[in-house]
Protein backbone atom coordinates (compact mmCIF):
# COMPACT_ATOMS: atom_id res chain seq x y z
CA UNK A 1 0.00 0.00 0.00
CA UNK A 2 1.13 3.49 -0.81
CA UNK A 3 1.68 5.89 2.05
CA UNK A 4 1.74 9.08 -0.01
CA UNK A 5 -1.18 10.53 -1.90
CA UNK A 6 -1.32 9.89 -5.63
CA UNK A 7 -2.65 12.48 -7.99
CA UNK A 8 -3.80 12.43 -11.60
CA UNK A 9 -4.49 15.75 -13.26
CA UNK A 10 -5.69 16.20 -16.80
CA UNK A 11 -6.54 19.26 -18.82
CA UNK A 12 -7.79 19.03 -22.40
CA UNK A 13 -9.80 21.13 -24.82
CA UNK A 14 -13.52 20.72 -24.07
CA UNK A 15 -14.17 18.60 -27.13
CA UNK A 16 -16.06 15.34 -27.26
CA UNK A 17 -13.20 13.45 -28.88
CA UNK A 18 -11.04 13.82 -25.75
CA UNK A 19 -13.57 12.47 -23.29
CA UNK A 20 -12.91 8.76 -23.89
CA UNK A 21 -9.17 9.09 -23.44
CA UNK A 22 -9.54 11.17 -20.27
CA UNK A 23 -11.71 8.35 -18.98
CA UNK A 24 -9.18 5.71 -20.05
CA UNK A 25 -6.37 7.58 -18.33
CA UNK A 26 -8.46 7.73 -15.15
CA UNK A 27 -9.17 3.98 -15.34
CA UNK A 28 -5.44 3.20 -15.65
CA UNK A 29 -4.72 5.38 -12.65
CA UNK A 30 -7.52 3.89 -10.54
CA UNK A 31 -6.59 0.30 -11.40
CA UNK A 32 -3.08 0.96 -10.11
CA UNK A 33 -4.69 2.05 -6.85
CA UNK A 34 -6.68 -1.17 -6.53
CA UNK A 35 -10.04 0.13 -7.70
CA UNK A 36 -11.84 -2.66 -9.51
CA UNK A 37 -15.16 -4.31 -10.32
CA UNK A 38 -18.35 -2.37 -9.75
CA UNK A 39 -16.67 0.48 -7.91
CA UNK A 40 -14.20 1.07 -10.75
CA UNK A 41 -17.13 1.00 -13.22
CA UNK A 42 -19.18 3.38 -11.11
CA UNK A 43 -16.42 5.93 -10.66
CA UNK A 44 -15.71 5.76 -14.37
CA UNK A 45 -19.40 6.21 -15.20
CA UNK A 46 -19.68 9.25 -12.93
CA UNK A 47 -16.51 10.78 -14.38
CA UNK A 48 -17.76 10.16 -17.92
CA UNK A 49 -21.04 11.95 -17.20
CA UNK A 50 -19.29 14.93 -15.61
CA UNK A 51 -16.86 15.21 -18.55
CA UNK A 52 -19.67 14.96 -21.10
CA UNK A 53 -21.54 17.75 -19.32
CA UNK A 54 -18.57 20.06 -19.69
CA UNK A 55 -18.41 19.38 -23.43
CA UNK A 56 -22.17 19.74 -23.87
CA UNK A 57 -23.00 22.67 -21.63
CA UNK A 58 -20.13 24.62 -20.08
CA UNK A 59 -19.15 26.79 -23.02
CA UNK A 60 -22.40 27.08 -24.98
CA UNK A 61 -22.73 30.77 -24.10
CA UNK A 62 -19.02 31.55 -24.30
CA UNK A 63 -17.26 33.60 -26.96
CA UNK A 64 -15.37 31.46 -29.46
CA UNK A 65 -11.97 32.79 -28.41
CA UNK A 66 -12.41 31.58 -24.84
CA UNK A 67 -10.04 28.87 -23.60
CA UNK A 68 -12.63 26.09 -23.46
CA UNK A 69 -11.02 23.37 -21.37
CA UNK A 70 -12.03 20.37 -19.26
CA UNK A 71 -10.09 19.65 -16.09
CA UNK A 72 -10.00 16.43 -14.12
CA UNK A 73 -8.23 15.81 -10.86
CA UNK A 74 -8.18 12.48 -9.03
CA UNK A 75 -6.52 12.26 -5.64
CA UNK A 76 -6.12 8.96 -3.81
CA UNK A 77 -5.03 9.50 -0.22
CA UNK A 78 -3.12 7.17 2.10
CA UNK A 79 -6.37 5.46 3.17
CA UNK A 80 -7.39 4.82 -0.42
CA UNK A 81 -10.12 7.45 -0.45
CA UNK A 82 -10.62 8.98 -3.89
CA UNK A 83 -11.48 12.64 -4.35
CA UNK A 84 -12.51 13.16 -7.95
CA UNK A 85 -13.01 16.61 -9.40
CA UNK A 86 -14.20 17.55 -12.87
CA UNK A 87 -14.13 21.26 -13.59
CA UNK A 88 -14.34 23.82 -16.33
CA UNK A 89 -13.98 27.55 -16.90
CA UNK A 90 -17.44 28.00 -18.38
CA UNK A 91 -20.81 28.89 -16.88
CA UNK A 92 -23.31 26.56 -15.23
CA UNK A 93 -26.60 26.59 -17.15
CA UNK A 94 -29.65 26.50 -14.87
CA UNK A 95 -32.37 24.65 -16.69
CA UNK A 96 -35.70 22.96 -16.10
CA UNK A 97 -35.57 19.20 -16.55
CA UNK A 98 -36.60 18.16 -20.08
CA UNK A 99 -38.10 14.78 -20.98
CA UNK A 100 -35.47 12.43 -22.36
CA UNK A 101 -32.60 14.52 -20.98
CA UNK A 102 -31.15 15.32 -17.59
CA UNK A 103 -29.73 11.88 -16.86
CA UNK A 104 -26.15 12.96 -16.29
CA UNK A 105 -26.50 14.55 -12.86
CA UNK A 106 -29.06 11.93 -11.84
CA UNK A 107 -26.57 9.16 -12.63
CA UNK A 108 -23.78 10.98 -10.81
CA UNK A 109 -26.01 11.45 -7.73
CA UNK A 110 -26.90 7.75 -7.77
CA UNK A 111 -23.21 6.84 -7.68
CA UNK A 112 -21.31 9.41 -5.66
CA UNK A 113 -21.60 9.07 -1.90
CA UNK A 114 -20.69 12.70 -1.45
CA UNK A 115 -21.17 15.21 -4.25
CA UNK A 116 -20.69 18.96 -4.24
CA UNK A 117 -21.28 21.23 -7.19
CA UNK A 118 -19.53 24.57 -7.02
CA UNK A 119 -20.66 27.00 -9.71
CA UNK A 120 -18.97 30.12 -8.37
CA UNK A 121 -16.19 30.07 -10.96
CA UNK A 122 -16.99 27.82 -13.89
CA UNK A 123 -18.41 24.52 -12.66
CA UNK A 124 -16.59 22.14 -10.32
CA UNK A 125 -18.06 18.77 -9.41
CA UNK A 126 -16.38 17.09 -6.48
CA UNK A 127 -17.11 13.47 -5.63
CA UNK A 128 -15.70 11.40 -2.79
CA UNK A 129 -15.41 7.61 -2.88
CA UNK A 130 -14.19 5.44 -0.01
CA UNK A 131 -12.43 2.42 -1.43
CA UNK A 132 -14.37 -0.82 -1.17
CA UNK A 133 -12.33 -3.98 -0.70
Amino acid sequence: MSRQPSVLRLRCPAQSRFVASLRHALVSFLRAHDFKGQQLDDVTTAAGEALANVVEHAYTAAASQVDAYIGLRANVDAKGTLALEVYDGGAFVERRPTRGRGFGLRIIRAIAGRLTIDTSNGTRLRMIFERKR
Binding site: S16, R17, F18, V19, A20, R23, Q38, D41, D42, T44, T45, G48, E49, L51, A52, V55, E56, G100, R101, F103, G104, R106, I107, A110, I111
Partner: protein, 110 residues
Amino acid sequence: MNEAEPVKVIRLTGELEIGRKNEIRSTLRAPADGTPVLLDLAGVTYADSIALTELLRFCAEAQQVGQPVALVIQTPQFARLIQYAGLATVFKVFAEPAEALAYLTESPRQ
Protein backbone atom coordinates in the same frame (compact mmCIF):
# COMPACT_ATOMS: atom_id res chain seq x y z
CA MET B 1 -39.09 -16.64 -36.20
CA ASN B 2 -41.08 -17.03 -39.43
CA GLU B 3 -41.07 -15.27 -42.78
CA ALA B 4 -44.16 -13.28 -41.94
CA GLU B 5 -42.42 -11.56 -39.04
CA PRO B 6 -38.77 -10.87 -39.77
CA VAL B 7 -36.61 -9.19 -37.15
CA LYS B 8 -34.20 -6.41 -37.93
CA VAL B 9 -30.95 -6.65 -35.99
CA ILE B 10 -29.04 -3.44 -35.23
CA ARG B 11 -25.67 -3.95 -33.60
CA LEU B 12 -23.49 -1.44 -31.77
CA THR B 13 -20.22 -2.40 -30.10
CA GLY B 14 -17.38 -0.82 -28.12
CA GLU B 15 -17.79 2.37 -26.13
CA LEU B 16 -21.10 4.14 -26.70
CA GLU B 17 -20.07 7.58 -25.57
CA ILE B 18 -20.15 11.24 -26.39
CA GLY B 19 -17.32 11.04 -28.94
CA ARG B 20 -19.45 8.68 -31.07
CA LYS B 21 -22.75 10.58 -30.75
CA ASN B 22 -23.27 11.18 -34.48
CA GLU B 23 -22.41 7.62 -35.40
CA ILE B 24 -24.78 6.22 -32.74
CA ARG B 25 -27.53 8.57 -33.89
CA SER B 26 -27.25 7.53 -37.53
CA THR B 27 -27.04 3.82 -36.68
CA LEU B 28 -30.19 4.02 -34.56
CA ARG B 29 -32.73 4.65 -37.29
CA ALA B 30 -36.13 3.01 -37.00
CA PRO B 31 -37.38 1.16 -40.09
CA ALA B 32 -40.67 2.78 -41.07
CA ASP B 33 -42.54 -0.50 -41.56
CA GLY B 34 -42.99 -1.69 -38.00
CA THR B 35 -40.50 -4.58 -38.22
CA PRO B 36 -39.47 -5.69 -34.72
CA VAL B 37 -35.91 -4.59 -33.84
CA LEU B 38 -33.35 -6.54 -31.87
CA LEU B 39 -30.76 -4.05 -30.65
CA ASP B 40 -27.69 -6.19 -30.14
CA LEU B 41 -25.61 -4.27 -27.58
CA ALA B 42 -23.84 -7.36 -26.19
CA GLY B 43 -20.47 -6.11 -27.44
CA VAL B 44 -20.77 -2.71 -25.79
CA THR B 45 -17.94 -2.19 -23.29
CA TYR B 46 -19.11 1.14 -21.86
CA ALA B 47 -22.09 3.44 -22.28
CA ASP B 48 -22.95 6.96 -21.13
CA SER B 49 -26.08 9.09 -20.92
CA ILE B 50 -25.51 10.45 -24.43
CA ALA B 51 -26.04 6.90 -25.68
CA LEU B 52 -29.10 6.52 -23.40
CA THR B 53 -30.65 9.64 -24.91
CA GLU B 54 -30.20 8.23 -28.42
CA LEU B 55 -31.64 4.88 -27.36
CA LEU B 56 -34.66 6.62 -25.80
CA ARG B 57 -35.25 8.63 -28.96
CA PHE B 58 -35.00 5.48 -31.07
CA CYS B 59 -37.44 3.56 -28.87
CA ALA B 60 -39.91 6.46 -28.88
CA GLU B 61 -39.81 6.65 -32.69
CA ALA B 62 -40.26 2.89 -32.92
CA GLN B 63 -43.22 2.98 -30.57
CA GLN B 64 -44.93 5.58 -32.75
CA VAL B 65 -44.95 3.14 -35.68
CA GLY B 66 -45.86 0.19 -33.42
CA GLN B 67 -42.46 -1.37 -33.77
CA PRO B 68 -41.30 -3.48 -30.80
CA VAL B 69 -37.67 -3.09 -29.69
CA ALA B 70 -35.66 -5.47 -27.51
CA LEU B 71 -32.20 -4.66 -26.18
CA VAL B 72 -29.49 -7.26 -25.50
CA ILE B 73 -27.16 -5.99 -22.80
CA GLN B 74 -24.50 -8.07 -21.06
CA THR B 75 -22.16 -5.42 -19.69
CA PRO B 76 -22.70 -4.73 -15.97
CA GLN B 77 -21.68 -1.06 -16.34
CA PHE B 78 -24.30 -0.53 -19.05
CA ALA B 79 -27.03 -2.39 -17.15
CA ARG B 80 -26.33 -0.31 -14.03
CA LEU B 81 -26.26 2.94 -16.03
CA ILE B 82 -29.87 2.26 -17.03
CA GLN B 83 -30.79 1.66 -13.38
CA TYR B 84 -29.06 4.82 -12.19
CA ALA B 85 -30.84 6.85 -14.88
CA GLY B 86 -34.18 5.50 -13.65
CA LEU B 87 -34.91 3.87 -17.02
CA ALA B 88 -35.19 0.24 -15.85
CA THR B 89 -38.86 0.03 -16.81
CA VAL B 90 -38.55 1.99 -20.04
CA PHE B 91 -36.35 -0.38 -22.05
CA LYS B 92 -37.01 -4.06 -22.72
CA VAL B 93 -33.60 -5.44 -21.73
CA PHE B 94 -32.48 -9.07 -22.10
CA ALA B 95 -29.18 -10.73 -21.24
CA GLU B 96 -29.43 -13.27 -24.07
CA PRO B 97 -30.21 -12.74 -27.77
CA ALA B 98 -32.47 -15.82 -27.75
CA GLU B 99 -34.64 -14.29 -25.02
CA ALA B 100 -34.89 -11.01 -26.92
CA LEU B 101 -35.82 -12.85 -30.10
CA ALA B 102 -38.47 -14.87 -28.27
CA TYR B 103 -39.95 -11.66 -26.91
CA LEU B 104 -40.02 -10.04 -30.35
CA THR B 105 -41.48 -12.98 -32.26
CA GLU B 106 -43.65 -14.82 -29.76
CA SER B 107 -45.21 -12.43 -27.28
CA PRO B 108 -48.67 -11.20 -28.19
CA ARG B 109 -48.78 -7.47 -28.83
CA GLN B 110 -51.68 -5.17 -29.51
